[in-house]
Protein backbone atom coordinates (compact mmCIF):
# COMPACT_ATOMS: atom_id res chain seq x y z
CA UNK A 1 0.00 0.00 0.00
CA UNK A 2 1.10 3.59 -0.66
CA UNK A 3 1.95 6.16 1.96
CA UNK A 4 -0.71 8.73 2.74
CA UNK A 5 0.68 12.25 2.60
CA UNK A 6 -1.18 15.54 2.63
CA UNK A 7 0.45 18.93 3.01
CA UNK A 8 -0.77 21.44 5.59
CA UNK A 9 -3.09 24.35 4.79
CA UNK A 10 -4.03 27.29 7.05
CA UNK A 11 -6.97 25.23 8.35
CA UNK A 12 -5.87 21.64 8.00
CA UNK A 13 -2.86 19.76 9.34
CA UNK A 14 -0.07 17.98 7.55
CA UNK A 15 -0.88 14.29 7.43
CA UNK A 16 2.10 12.02 6.94
CA UNK A 17 1.29 8.34 7.23
CA UNK A 18 4.10 6.10 6.02
CA UNK A 19 3.44 2.40 5.57
CA UNK A 20 7.11 1.90 4.84
CA UNK A 21 8.37 3.23 8.17
CA UNK A 22 5.23 2.84 10.29
CA UNK A 23 5.69 6.46 11.32
CA UNK A 24 2.71 8.77 11.24
CA UNK A 25 2.39 12.46 11.92
CA UNK A 26 -0.46 14.93 12.31
CA UNK A 27 0.89 18.45 12.66
CA UNK A 28 -0.17 22.06 12.30
CA UNK A 29 -3.71 23.23 12.80
CA UNK A 30 -6.91 21.31 12.46
CA UNK A 31 -9.86 23.66 12.21
CA UNK A 32 -11.74 22.59 9.06
CA UNK A 33 -15.46 23.29 8.98
CA UNK A 34 -16.10 19.72 7.98
CA UNK A 35 -13.63 17.62 9.91
CA UNK A 36 -15.27 14.28 9.15
CA UNK A 37 -14.87 14.87 5.42
CA UNK A 38 -11.26 15.95 5.87
CA UNK A 39 -10.25 12.93 7.98
CA UNK A 40 -12.27 10.31 6.12
CA UNK A 41 -9.52 9.38 3.60
CA UNK A 42 -6.82 8.93 6.23
CA UNK A 43 -9.17 6.88 8.41
CA UNK A 44 -9.89 4.61 5.41
CA UNK A 45 -6.14 4.36 4.85
CA UNK A 46 -5.73 3.27 8.48
CA UNK A 47 -8.51 0.72 8.07
CA UNK A 48 -6.31 -0.89 5.42
CA UNK A 49 -3.11 -0.45 7.42
CA UNK A 50 -4.49 -2.35 10.41
CA UNK A 51 -4.85 -5.46 8.23
CA UNK A 52 -1.12 -5.55 7.52
CA UNK A 53 0.60 -3.30 10.03
CA UNK A 54 4.31 -2.82 10.61
CA UNK A 55 5.90 -4.26 13.74
CA UNK A 56 6.19 -0.76 15.13
CA UNK A 57 3.70 2.06 14.69
CA UNK A 58 4.41 5.56 15.93
CA UNK A 59 1.97 8.44 15.69
CA UNK A 60 3.21 11.92 16.54
CA UNK A 61 0.47 14.50 17.10
CA UNK A 62 1.78 18.02 17.16
CA UNK A 63 -1.13 20.38 16.79
CA UNK A 64 -1.22 24.10 17.29
CA UNK A 65 -5.02 24.31 17.31
CA UNK A 66 -7.87 21.94 16.75
CA UNK A 67 -11.63 22.38 16.84
CA UNK A 68 -14.03 20.09 18.67
CA UNK A 69 -15.12 18.33 15.49
CA UNK A 70 -11.47 17.44 14.79
CA UNK A 71 -11.13 16.02 18.28
CA UNK A 72 -13.82 13.46 17.45
CA UNK A 73 -11.86 12.45 14.36
CA UNK A 74 -8.67 12.12 16.40
CA UNK A 75 -10.55 9.68 18.63
CA UNK A 76 -11.43 7.67 15.54
CA UNK A 77 -7.79 7.61 14.44
CA UNK A 78 -6.59 6.55 17.89
CA UNK A 79 -9.27 3.84 17.95
CA UNK A 80 -7.76 2.35 14.80
CA UNK A 81 -4.36 2.26 16.47
CA UNK A 82 -5.88 0.81 19.62
CA UNK A 83 -7.12 -2.17 17.66
CA UNK A 84 -3.52 -2.86 16.57
CA UNK A 85 -1.88 -3.44 19.90
CA UNK A 86 -1.60 -7.21 19.42
CA UNK A 87 0.06 -7.10 15.99
CA UNK A 88 2.17 -3.98 16.30
CA UNK A 89 3.93 -2.08 19.05
CA UNK A 90 2.02 1.17 19.05
CA UNK A 91 3.22 4.44 20.48
CA UNK A 92 1.52 7.82 20.37
CA UNK A 93 3.31 11.04 21.21
CA UNK A 94 1.25 14.10 22.06
CA UNK A 95 3.40 17.20 21.70
CA UNK A 96 2.52 20.49 23.37
CA UNK A 97 4.42 23.69 23.88
CA UNK A 98 5.42 24.60 27.39
CA UNK A 99 2.92 27.05 28.94
CA UNK A 100 0.19 25.82 26.59
CA UNK A 101 -2.00 24.33 29.28
CA UNK A 102 -4.97 23.92 26.96
CA UNK A 103 -3.04 21.70 24.58
CA UNK A 104 -1.56 19.76 27.50
CA UNK A 105 -5.04 19.29 28.94
CA UNK A 106 -6.34 18.11 25.56
CA UNK A 107 -3.61 15.49 25.42
CA UNK A 108 -4.64 14.35 28.87
CA UNK A 109 -8.25 14.08 27.70
CA UNK A 110 -7.17 11.60 25.02
CA UNK A 111 -4.79 9.80 27.35
CA UNK A 112 -7.64 9.27 29.81
CA UNK A 113 -10.18 7.89 27.35
CA UNK A 114 -7.95 5.84 25.03
CA UNK A 115 -6.33 2.50 25.81
CA UNK A 116 -3.43 3.09 23.44
CA UNK A 117 -0.42 4.49 25.34
CA UNK A 118 -0.05 8.22 24.83
CA UNK A 119 3.18 9.88 25.85
CA UNK A 120 3.01 13.57 26.69
CA UNK A 121 5.95 15.42 25.18
CA UNK A 122 6.67 19.00 26.11
CA UNK A 123 8.35 20.87 23.27
CA UNK A 124 10.02 24.26 23.16
CA UNK A 125 7.98 27.24 22.15
CA UNK A 126 8.99 28.20 18.63
Amino acid sequence: MDDFILEATPKTPRLYFSKESGEFEISGRSIPENSIEFYKPVISWLDNYIHEPNHHTLLVIKLEYFNTSSSKCLVEILRRLESLTEQSIVKVKWCYEEEDEDMQESGEDFKEIMKVPIEMVQVRDN
Binding site: N67, S69, K72
Partner: protein
Amino acid sequence: MKKAVTTGSSSQTLFSYAGSVSSSSMNHLLELAENKLNKEPTKKYIRKKVFGILVETVQNAYHHLDRPRSEEKHTSVKFRLEKDLQNYTVIAGNPVKNNKVDALKSVIDRFNSMSIPELKQYYRNRLSRGYATPSPGAGLGFVDIIRKSGKKISYTFKPVDQDYSYFSLQVEVST
Protein backbone atom coordinates in the same frame (compact mmCIF):
# COMPACT_ATOMS: atom_id res chain seq x y z
CA MET B 1 -10.47 62.45 47.75
CA LYS B 2 -10.36 59.16 45.91
CA LYS B 3 -10.96 59.11 42.23
CA ALA B 4 -13.35 56.59 40.77
CA VAL B 5 -11.55 54.10 38.55
CA THR B 6 -13.52 53.13 35.51
CA THR B 7 -11.84 50.32 33.66
CA GLY B 8 -14.82 49.87 31.38
CA SER B 9 -14.04 53.06 29.52
CA SER B 10 -10.73 51.64 28.29
CA SER B 11 -12.49 48.92 26.33
CA GLN B 12 -11.23 48.69 22.76
CA THR B 13 -12.64 46.82 19.78
CA LEU B 14 -9.98 44.75 18.02
CA PHE B 15 -12.27 43.73 15.22
CA SER B 16 -15.90 43.58 14.39
CA TYR B 17 -17.84 41.77 11.68
CA ALA B 18 -21.47 41.88 10.71
CA GLY B 19 -22.71 40.21 7.59
CA SER B 20 -23.41 37.00 5.81
CA VAL B 21 -22.05 33.66 6.81
CA SER B 22 -20.25 31.64 4.16
CA SER B 23 -17.23 29.42 4.19
CA SER B 24 -15.05 32.10 2.58
CA SER B 25 -16.29 34.96 4.76
CA MET B 26 -15.64 32.85 7.86
CA ASN B 27 -12.11 32.06 6.65
CA HIS B 28 -11.48 35.71 6.01
CA LEU B 29 -12.82 36.65 9.42
CA LEU B 30 -10.63 34.16 11.26
CA GLU B 31 -7.59 35.28 9.30
CA LEU B 32 -8.29 38.89 10.21
CA ALA B 33 -8.80 37.99 13.87
CA GLU B 34 -5.59 36.04 13.97
CA ASN B 35 -3.59 38.89 12.43
CA LYS B 36 -5.01 41.27 15.02
CA LEU B 37 -4.30 38.88 17.87
CA ASN B 38 -0.73 38.30 16.73
CA LYS B 39 -0.06 42.00 17.25
CA GLU B 40 -1.30 41.85 20.83
CA PRO B 41 1.33 42.10 23.54
CA THR B 42 -0.23 39.17 25.38
CA LYS B 43 1.30 35.78 26.03
CA LYS B 44 1.05 33.37 23.12
CA TYR B 45 -1.09 30.84 24.98
CA ILE B 46 -3.66 33.54 25.87
CA ARG B 47 -3.86 34.54 22.20
CA LYS B 48 -4.31 30.87 21.32
CA LYS B 49 -7.13 30.57 23.85
CA VAL B 50 -8.93 33.59 22.39
CA PHE B 51 -8.44 32.36 18.83
CA GLY B 52 -9.60 28.85 19.76
CA ILE B 53 -12.78 30.27 21.29
CA LEU B 54 -13.36 32.39 18.20
CA VAL B 55 -12.99 29.36 15.95
CA GLU B 56 -15.60 27.47 17.96
CA THR B 57 -18.08 30.36 18.02
CA VAL B 58 -17.65 31.18 14.33
CA GLN B 59 -17.95 27.55 13.21
CA ASN B 60 -20.85 27.05 15.58
CA ALA B 61 -22.69 29.93 13.90
CA TYR B 62 -21.75 28.56 10.49
CA HIS B 63 -23.10 25.09 11.21
CA HIS B 64 -26.13 25.87 13.34
CA LEU B 65 -27.33 29.17 11.99
CA ASP B 66 -30.98 29.24 11.08
CA ARG B 67 -31.19 31.23 7.90
CA PRO B 68 -34.39 33.20 7.63
CA ARG B 69 -35.84 33.35 4.13
CA SER B 70 -35.83 37.13 3.93
CA GLU B 71 -32.37 38.65 3.96
CA GLU B 72 -33.00 41.35 6.48
CA LYS B 73 -30.40 43.31 8.30
CA HIS B 74 -31.18 41.82 11.70
CA THR B 75 -30.64 38.29 10.42
CA SER B 76 -26.91 38.52 9.80
CA VAL B 77 -24.20 37.11 12.03
CA LYS B 78 -22.06 39.33 14.20
CA PHE B 79 -18.65 38.76 15.71
CA ARG B 80 -16.65 41.15 17.81
CA LEU B 81 -13.43 40.93 19.76
CA GLU B 82 -12.88 43.50 22.47
CA LYS B 83 -10.29 44.01 25.11
CA ASP B 84 -9.97 46.04 28.26
CA LEU B 85 -7.40 45.96 31.02
CA GLN B 86 -8.56 42.62 32.42
CA ASN B 87 -10.11 40.66 29.59
CA TYR B 88 -10.46 39.79 25.98
CA THR B 89 -14.15 39.43 25.18
CA VAL B 90 -15.51 37.40 22.29
CA ILE B 91 -19.04 38.38 21.29
CA ALA B 92 -20.93 36.34 18.72
CA GLY B 93 -24.48 36.60 17.48
CA ASN B 94 -26.73 34.76 15.08
CA PRO B 95 -30.45 34.25 14.47
CA VAL B 96 -32.08 31.08 15.77
CA LYS B 97 -35.58 29.73 15.37
CA ASN B 98 -37.82 30.46 18.33
CA ASN B 99 -38.59 26.79 18.79
CA LYS B 100 -34.91 26.13 19.53
CA VAL B 101 -34.47 28.89 22.11
CA ASP B 102 -35.53 26.90 25.18
CA ALA B 103 -33.31 23.93 24.32
CA LEU B 104 -30.31 26.15 23.66
CA LYS B 105 -30.87 28.05 26.92
CA SER B 106 -31.08 24.88 28.95
CA VAL B 107 -27.91 23.46 27.35
CA ILE B 108 -25.90 26.59 28.15
CA ASP B 109 -27.41 26.93 31.65
CA ARG B 110 -26.52 23.32 32.36
CA PHE B 111 -22.88 23.80 31.29
CA ASN B 112 -22.65 27.11 33.14
CA SER B 113 -23.79 25.40 36.34
CA MET B 114 -21.10 22.70 36.10
CA SER B 115 -17.68 23.00 37.73
CA ILE B 116 -14.53 22.76 35.61
CA PRO B 117 -13.83 19.15 36.79
CA GLU B 118 -17.43 18.21 35.95
CA LEU B 119 -17.10 19.76 32.50
CA LYS B 120 -13.85 17.90 31.96
CA GLN B 121 -15.56 14.62 32.81
CA TYR B 122 -18.51 15.41 30.60
CA TYR B 123 -16.22 16.35 27.71
CA ARG B 124 -14.22 13.15 28.04
CA ASN B 125 -17.34 11.00 28.15
CA ARG B 126 -18.71 12.61 25.03
CA LEU B 127 -15.39 12.60 23.24
CA SER B 128 -14.86 8.90 23.83
CA ARG B 129 -17.85 8.19 21.61
CA GLY B 130 -15.95 9.61 18.62
CA TYR B 131 -18.15 10.63 15.73
CA ALA B 132 -20.09 7.40 15.65
CA THR B 133 -23.03 8.93 17.52
CA PRO B 134 -24.93 11.87 16.09
CA SER B 135 -24.03 15.03 17.89
CA PRO B 136 -26.96 17.08 19.11
CA GLY B 137 -25.95 20.61 18.26
CA ALA B 138 -23.12 22.52 19.79
CA GLY B 139 -22.76 20.65 23.06
CA LEU B 140 -19.05 19.94 23.03
CA GLY B 141 -18.23 23.31 21.50
CA PHE B 142 -19.79 25.14 24.45
CA VAL B 143 -17.99 22.89 26.92
CA ASP B 144 -14.71 23.56 25.14
CA ILE B 145 -15.34 27.31 25.28
CA ILE B 146 -16.03 27.29 29.03
CA ARG B 147 -13.02 25.09 29.73
CA LYS B 148 -10.74 27.39 27.74
CA SER B 149 -12.08 30.64 29.18
CA GLY B 150 -12.57 29.31 32.72
CA LYS B 151 -15.69 31.49 32.91
CA LYS B 152 -19.36 31.12 32.26
CA ILE B 153 -20.95 31.99 28.92
CA SER B 154 -23.22 35.04 29.04
CA TYR B 155 -26.02 35.06 26.54
CA THR B 156 -29.16 36.85 25.45
CA PHE B 157 -32.05 36.00 23.16
CA LYS B 158 -33.83 38.97 21.63
CA PRO B 159 -37.11 38.27 19.83
CA VAL B 160 -36.95 39.26 16.16
CA ASP B 161 -40.37 38.18 14.96
CA GLN B 162 -42.79 35.31 15.43
CA ASP B 163 -40.31 32.78 14.02
CA TYR B 164 -36.86 34.04 15.01
CA SER B 165 -34.82 35.33 17.90
CA TYR B 166 -31.35 36.78 17.85
CA PHE B 167 -28.91 34.79 19.97
CA SER B 168 -25.82 36.56 21.31
CA LEU B 169 -23.14 35.03 23.44
CA GLN B 170 -20.25 36.57 25.25
CA VAL B 171 -17.13 34.90 26.61
CA GLU B 172 -14.23 36.44 28.48
CA VAL B 173 -10.60 35.39 28.68
CA SER B 174 -8.43 37.01 31.33
CA THR B 175 -5.44 38.75 29.80
